[in-house]
């Protein structure tokens, strides 16, 4: 079939052609970018934190009328209270391990600093590597379910305690493999000395864990997402956090038992609805916006595709109605049903093709705009290719019903008045 008569015919329907092409172009541009956003959000949500997330929950509580953490005496008293809590939690039936901690991955409450290979770095020295600290104790690895890949875990002798705002030396540290590889590319991290937060006091890396995400999920943490450091120190302040790992299947029971038990240890504290949170809840809260965005984009894509398909059906049906007589003439002159079907399919392919070319340009333009405004990455070519094929298939599918109707026009209609 020659394209020339088809193009000549389309010239008679400029408005309709432009409308369909434009609609396909915009649909392609938006759907490509929307699916790309969905993909990157899903990828973000699905990355493992490094924790064993099942059977894990977090208790956050605040002391009432507790001694100040600004005096040495107060710190000691707070530490006694914290140790009482820890002992009570560890004795609770169904509990496997408990560790004090200042935060957990995805909790968005961070203590960040930097570690360096040099001591006494001056403020502003760029040689440091940013890291997020987890202040915890010897049960950290078993509680969080971290996998040790080199060196050893903390033991009771490593554990110290300090006031919340104090900055004593940190002789022993465990770092993530990502951080160890960044600091010691040769792989000799264990036993090596680093300096934290510009301090002059050495810290020895005693162990390396495979993976542990930082607490922050915001974009400001993107360049050190896997650079976590574990410090064997209990923080003493007017609040405490305890990570609790339960025996399999006992999470709910233990979570219910925790609040009354802690009140029994010491009633002068605040524990409210938010105080006992399973890790699944922490994860859901952290990624709420990402999941919501993915759902919104998905819904918009679906409706968009439906609207575009419906538009093609509508306009093509109109054309078929308009050309009723001409189709009859062609049929009378010997064109087969298949020829008529192909005519409309090819016509649609032509229009959709032009729309797709325009759409690819628009999609790339939209992506570039999103990059400048919202820290997005470049749209992979694969998305554009798949999107292009998809809109062409969509056009063909949409045009099929009216084209079939056109092919069923009887040759007799050529002889009748319109």
């Amino acid at each position: 079939m020659k394209l020339h008569p088809m193009i000549a015919a389309l010239r008679r329907h400029k408005a309709g052609v432009v409308l369909i092409a434009l609609q396909i172009a915009l649909t392609l541009a938006i759907v490509c970018n929307a699916i790309f956003i969905i993909g990157s959000r899903i990828e973000r949500v699905n990355r493992p934190t490094g924790l064993d997330e099942s059977n894990l929950f977090l208790v956050t509580q605040q002391w009432v009328g507790a001694p100040s953490a600004d005096t040495a005496d107060g710190v000691e008293k707070l530490d006694v209270m914290q140790r009482e809590d820890l002992a009570a939690l560890r004795n609770l039936p169904g509990v496997e391990a408990v560790a004090p901690t200042n935060s957990l991955p995805l909790l968005n409450s961070s203590w960040t600093g930097s570690v360096s290979l040099k001591p006494d770095t001056r403020p502003g020295d760029k040689s440091g590597t940013r890291t997020a600290y987890y202040f915890t104790d010897e049960q950290a690895l078993s509680t969080m379910g971290l996998k040790l890949v080199a060196g050893r875990a903390f033991n009771a002798g490593d554990v110290r305690h300090q006031g919340f705002r104090d900055n004593p030396p940190r002789p022993a540290l465990i770092v993530t493999k990502a951080l160890a590889d960044k600091l010691f590319p040769k792989g000799n991290a264990v036993g090596s000395v680093i300096y934290s937060d510009g301090s002059g006091a050495p810290s020895t890396i005693i162990g390396v864990v495979e993976r542990l995400q930082i607490p922050a999920t915001g974009s400001w943490g993107n360049n050190f997402t896997w650079y976590s450091t574990l410090v064997p120190t209990r923080l003493d302040a007017n609040f405490t956090r305890y990570a609790v790992r339960t025996k399999p299947g006992q999470l709910d029971a233990v979570m219910r038992a925790v609040t009354p038990m802690l009140y029994k240890v010491d009633p002068m504290r605040v524990l409210d609805d938010d105080s006992v949170k399973s890790f699944a809840d922490i994860r859901a809260k952290a990624y709420r916006a990402d999941v919501g965005m993915a759902i919104l984009m998905g819904v918009i894509c679906l409706i968009l595709i439906a609207v575009t398909a419906a538009g093609i059906v509508g306009l093509t049906s109109f054309w078929v109605g308009q050309r009723h007589r001409q189709i009859g003439v062609r049929r009378a002159l010997g064109a087969r049903k298949l020829d008529i079907l192909h005519y409309f399919q090819l016509e649609n392919l032509l229009i959709a093709g032009v729309g797709a070319v325009l759409g690819v340009l628009l999609a790339i333009g939209l992506n570039l705009w999103l990059i400048t405004r919202y820290e997005m990455s470049h749209l992979p070519v694969l998305y554009v290719l798949v999107g292009t094929v998809a809109v062409l298939v969509l056009g063909q599918a949409a045009v099929f019903v009216p084209a079939r109707r056109a092919s069923n026009v009887s040759p007799v209609s050529a002889t009748r008045a319109a």
Partner: protein
């Protein structure tokens, strides 16, 4: 004539239900998507204090230096030394420091367990500056700031919880183990975004429970319950060291009535930073900022990126729906070319044809708007999946949103109908009559 055309329009809607349904659905979905995302966007990008936003300024002083500041910008809050210096200088008409604190309160009666409450340590100027409404009593006096008085202003909600809503001024409450005298009870006051504390909140949080004098809070060594950001070597131990450190955690606000006052205050900030440089505390030239409320909201990126992206996507979606509508209206109108021909032959002017079809499009728009309204109502209830609850609850279907939905739907459809109506009006009556 309008009523007649409206009647014709409604009849025509019924003539080919499939085509009509398609248009109505397209407009309904398009307008609903735009309105849902717009309702959130409107809520988060609004001016929280419209009548004073141009008179309230937050000063920033770079105490970190070019190596450690935020890409040239000073820190988003002040350290203790600079904050106190600004307050003591008293260069503005009104000024306050503020930082969030969390305490526990012991409710009397049968509730034995303490409850957590959160609030702000502020100066007495805080209340007139931000136009905090009072139900009972009022702010503490300026001299109470200096006297480190154990005064407290509580929210209506906390007053309900503790005193069952009675006038509690003069009564005593126990916060964090210390007694405070209630001097005022606020009416519901929770400006959103919370422009005055963007350093520690994202701008959307529940109403604070109480406000107490910052001087008292500092006396009691209350830590900030919000953000704290430090630079360089952290070697401090204990409260006094912490106060002398470069850690920023205090937000300052000043009220300046006119441009001259703003310029004067800016010069004062520059001079203060220059003095610090001379004294050797800063090793860099003055780097200060003085932003008003709207500039501050913009600088702190209060509008969540999700909100902008979803609004942009929804508008693109609406555009496609409209293009779709143009195509379908074109098909619908030109299908009736014969009818138009007859009307034209019987003496209808082009203008009349034009009016008729625009009104017909208007009825489509109205139907689409009503559908859009229903979908918007459903969607507004469901924005909770996309935004955190504090933001989701801001999206409300109020009268203005209902009106806007209908107006946008009708206006957009009538605009979309300009070209199809123009084509319809230019149908040649002679051709139509001849061919049929």
């Amino acid at each position: 004539m309008f009523a007649y055309y409206l009647d014709l329009g409604l009849r025509s809607l019924r003539r080919n239900p499939a085509l009509t349904a398609l248009m109505v659905l397209a407009i309904g979905f398009g307008v609903a998507a735009s309105m849902i995302t717009y309702s959130v966007f409107r809520a988060v990008s609004g001016n929280p204090i419209p009548d004073k936003s141009a008179q309230l300024f937050t000063p920033q002083i770079d105490a970190w230096g070019p190596q450690q500041n935020l890409k040239g910008e000073p820190a988003e809050a002040l350290n203790y030394i600079d904050a106190m210096a600004l307050l003591r200088a008293h260069e503005a008409k009104r000024q306050t420091l503020l930082y969030p604190v969390a305490l526990s309160v012991l409710p009397g009666g049968n509730r034995e367990l303490p409850v957590a409450v959160s609030g702000y340590a502020v100066g007495s100027d805080f209340f007139p500056m931000f136009e905090v409404p009072f139900r009972y009593g009022g702010a503490w006096r300026a001299q109470d700031d200096d006297a480190r008085a154990a005064d407290v202003v509580i929210s209506d909600e906390l007053n309900q919880k503790l005193f069952r809503g009675a006038d509690s001024t003069g009564r005593t409450i126990n916060l964090g183990g210390h007694d405070y005298r209630v001097v005022g009870v606020t009416n519901h006051w929770n400006p959103r975004p919370r422009f005055y504390d963007l350093f520690s909140t994202s701008g959307f949080a529940d109403e604070p429970d109480f406000y107490l004098p910052y001087s008292r809070a500092l006396d009691l060594r209350m830590r900030t319950n919000g953000s704290n950001s430090c630079r360089g070597k952290l070697a401090y131990t204990g409260w006094d060291d912490y106060l002398q450190s470069n850690c920023v955690w205090i937000t300052a606000w000043v009220e300046l009535d006119n441009a001259a006052a703003v310029a004067r205050y800016h010069r004062f900030l520059e001079a203060y930073a220059a003095d610090q440089q001379k004294a050797g505390r800063f090793a860099w030239p003055p780097n200060v900022r003085l932003r008003d409320v709207m500039q501050w909201l913009d600088h702190e990126h209060v509008v969540p990126p999700e909100s902008r992206i979803s609004l942009a996507v929804a508008l693109g979606f609406f555009l496609i729906c409209l293009i779709n509508t143009v195509g379908l209206l074109l098909a619908k109108f030109l299908r009736r070319a014969g009818e138009i021909g007859v009307r034209r032959a019987l003496g209808a002017s082009r203008r009349e044809i034009y009016t008729q079809y625009l009104i017909e499009a208007g009825t489509v728009g109205l139907a689409g708007g009503v559908l859009g309204l229903l979908l918007t109502a459903v969607g507004v209830a469901g924005v909770g999946i996309l935004f955190p609850p504090q933001i989701a609850q801001l999206a409300q279907l109020d009268v203005s949103l209902v009106g806007l939905t209908l107006i946008v739907a009708i206006a957009a459809t009538v605009c979309a109908a300009f070209y199809p109506s123009w084509r319809a009006a230019h149908v040649q009556p002679a051709w139509q009559l001849k061919s049929s």
